[in-house]
Amino acid sequence: MNKSKILVVDDDLDLLAATKLFLERNNYEVKTAINTKIGRDNLNTFHPDLIVLDIVMDTNLEGFNFLNDLKSDDKLKNIPVIINTSMSQAIGVNMRSAIEDIDNLPKTRFIDKSGDWEELLKAVTELL
């Protein structure tokens, strides 16, 4: 059986390295992208089954724009996305209810960036 493919988009190199290693240990094929531009390029070459996405990168809403483009593209909108961000604490919005809206953003999950691997793994296994 082929390994599921995960694309991780985050502007933190160290976090990317650790996340890649963690997911690979759990038997996934992983590609990382340091910004959404590289992330976009990977969509067509790597064909991920799932995307782990940070929100605040070069701009405050870079991740959201990426998510938006993804979900408005008929070919790509069914790829599950895990939003992994600490943004909710910074702006105090209940991100979970805003993001896990099945009609507007199908197959999108929110987790609070905390260095807790179990939460990430749980979300990945549920969505794949």
């Binding site: 933190d12 160290d14 976090l15 390295a17 650790a18 996340t19 290693l21 963690f22 240990r25 600490s86 604490q89 910074a90 105090g92 209940n94 960036k113 905390s114 260095g115 691997w117």
Partner: protein, 441 residues
């Protein structure tokens, strides 16, 4: 300008209070004049005046109370009218009382000045000059009518020996002095009142500026904390890679030091999360409030804490009133406060002890008490315990991972809900945290 508006209502009550004193004063003065100085004064006008003043006071008080309850926008204008009416009526009553007790010969004539000063403090410049002029008109008319014999003069027999009410030179001189004194008093008090109002406004402005500065500071703390959190998360993730031995086995010493690092990172993470939480709460006091079942929340939080309590062999005794149900507030925040207080009780209790959680259904609020039999808080530190970053000296040595922000957050949340939180503690005997939450907002 809310405080200025409230000021007039406050002063309206003050005026009513002053009138009670005046009524008592009239009664005592009348009694002394009659029975000690043996001055014959006609009783009827005095009795009528006293009854009239009492009625006026009761009615004014009721109207004010009604206006405050109804919260009509026009009420402030109405309060102002009441005050003007009261001062005018007071002046008329004073004139009537004076007329029946010697008129211009009565030394109490000076008391007009009080009314002028009081009017000045409460009313606008125009209004207080009008009131003063009205007072002078009343005195002038009374004096003239008595002088010309149009109305009867009631002499203070045995007190004023010669008649001066019909001495034109005296009347003109006294009249001149009285008029100039009155306007001068009005002018001086006006200046003082204006000055104090200016101070009040500058205090208000300074207060607003302070709040703005505080907001800027909090936003700054928020941004920095958020940036720090990003780094910590990355460090934690990288360390976990080593700790989970994904990169290969570790020798016991490497593992020990790695665990030390992990512990510290976890403490730092909690600290940063707490700091973000409290700063956020200070910046955004608007919360998503709704009705929720407080009893359910409390029981859920106790369940979570029971795991930790079980490890320390601590039992949680529940004395929860079943009649308590819905209260209005932000459920997640209130639950955070409850959990924080219960976990604190568990953390600072010696193993094998018990914790008591009681709730009391009060009329419009709910009281929750969480009592432990732990180390207690030193008496001289109790007042500091809700301060940010403060940890009691004995707590620091026993529980290493506290951030000193938990109680500060709890207090912020409770205050955002219009509730109260306080603590009673005896060193080495235990501590009770009390939480008073309003059922409605």
């Amino acid at each position: 300008m809310q405080p200025i508006n409230l000021r007039i209502v406050r002063l309206a009550y003050w005026l009513i209070r002053l009138r009670w004193y005046a009524i008592i004063g009239i009664v005592i003065g009348f009694f002394i004049a009659k029975h000690f100085l043996h001055i014959p004064i006609w009783n009827l006008p005095v009795y009528i005046s006293i009854i009239f003043l009492i009625l006026l006071n009761v009615i004014s008080f009721s109207v004010l109370k009604y206006l405050q309850k109804s919260r009509i926008r026009k009420s402030l204008k109405f309060v102002n009218r009441i005050i003007n009416f009261q001062i005018s009526t007071d002046l008329i009553v004073l004139t009537i009382l004076l007329h029946f007790s010697g008129g211009v010969e009565n030394p109490f004539i000076i008391y007009y000045i009080f009314h002028m000063i009081i009017g000045n403090i409460i009313l606008t410049t125009k209004e207080s000059f009008l009131q003063t002029s009205f007072a002078l008109l009343l005195v002038g008319t009374m004096t003239f009518l008595e002088y010309s014999g149009i109305i009867k003069h009631y002499p203070l027999e045995g007190f004023i020996v010669t008649n001066i009410y019909n001495d034109l030179t005296y009347l003109l001189c006294t009249g001149f002095i009285f008029v100039t004194t009155s306007y001068f008093v009005v002018y001086i008090t006006r200046t003082i009142v204006k000055e104090s109002k200016r101070h009040e406004i500058s205090y208000l402005q300074a207060n607003i500026k302070l709040r703005q500065k505080d907001k800027i500071k909090n936003e700054y703390v928020m941004r920095i904390t958020h940036d720090i959190k990003g780094h910590i998360t990355a460090i934690q993730s990288c360390i976990t890679v080593l700790n989970k031995k994904w990169t290969g086995p570790l020798n016991p010493q490497q593992e020990e030091f790695l665990n030390r690092a992990i512990n510290r990172i976890q403490i730092l993470n909690t600290f940063i999360s707490d700091l973000l939480s409290i700063t956020h709460r200070k910046l955004h006091q608007k919360t998503e409030k709704k009705y929720f079942d407080l009893n359910f929340s409390l029981k859920e939080m106790i369940k979570i804490a029971e795991n930790m309590a079980h490890d320390k062999n601590i039992s949680i005794i529940k004395n929860i009133e079943s009649s308590i149900n819905n209260i209005y507030g932000e459920q997640s925040s209130i639950e955070e406060v409850l959990l924080n207080l219960i976990l604190n009780a568990v953390k600072y209790s010696p193993p094998g002890n018990h914790i008591l959680i009681s709730t009391f259904n009060k009329q419009d609020s709910i009281l929750i008490e969480i009592t432990d039999h732990g180390m207690g808080i030193p008496e001289n530190e109790i007042h500091l315990i809700f301060n940010e970053f403060y940890r009691a000296s004995n707590a620091k040595s026993q529980v290493k991972d506290g951030t000193g922000l938990g109680l500060a957050i709890s207090k912020q949340i409770v205050e955002n809900h219009g509730g109260k939180i306080w603590v009673k503690s005896k060193l080495n005997l235990g501590t009770t945290f009390s939480l008073l939450l309003k059922k409605e907002q």
